[in-house]
Amino acid sequence: MNYLPGTASLVEEIDKKLLVVLRDGRTLIGYLRSIDQFANLVLHRTIERIHVGKKYGDIPRGIFVVRGENVVLLGEIDLENENNPQLEEVPIDDILEMQREEQIQKQQEEERKKKSMLERGLQPHSELHDDLF
């Protein structure tokens, strides 16, 4: 990696507390300790944050090595703004239950859409979905 000014390098983000969005929709928050040219990451003191509506829950995960191809974006957490008044933290078990319910609702919605499309003679989900957004 070059160190020319104006190039998008992750070097400056090392040791910062970052929010990492992955292709499977997960959100990780941790301190960035190591990077390479593929955007492979080593995160320290990582938590997985699950959002359902305006509520969220954190699961401690320790050290994470993330393969670069799974990374969507890395966000620098604004430490002043970090504890956003709009969002409410809830216990892990609660958020997992809420997530499960949200998943069930989404699946039912997908089933309904699929049925409507088939009724109209269309192919459901003809788009390539290689990621689980």
């Binding site: 104006g6 998008a8 890395l74 703004n81 969002l87």
Partner: protein
Amino acid sequence: STDAENKMLFYSFFKSLVGKDVVVELKNDLSICGTLHSVDQFLNIKFTDITVTDPDKYPHMLSVKNCFIRGSVVRYVQLPADECDTQLLQDAARKEAAQNRQR
């Protein structure tokens, strides 16, 4: 005459847009508006002062001001028309294509 030199056109183009406001649409349908801070050879992008165009759908981004976006997840980069000299781009593309043919 390495392979990387043949693909410099958009890298150079984005470098010329540093400091401008653009909107990026990602393959996961998330759209982010921000000031282009820097770009690299993989077209990874760094933004400052971002706003998510649908914040209710993506609450996790609420306390993020700056971000790094991996080039591979970008679907579109939306620019205002007056920041883009299409004539210049066309000429540059033709020149690069001609150089590639010669190699």
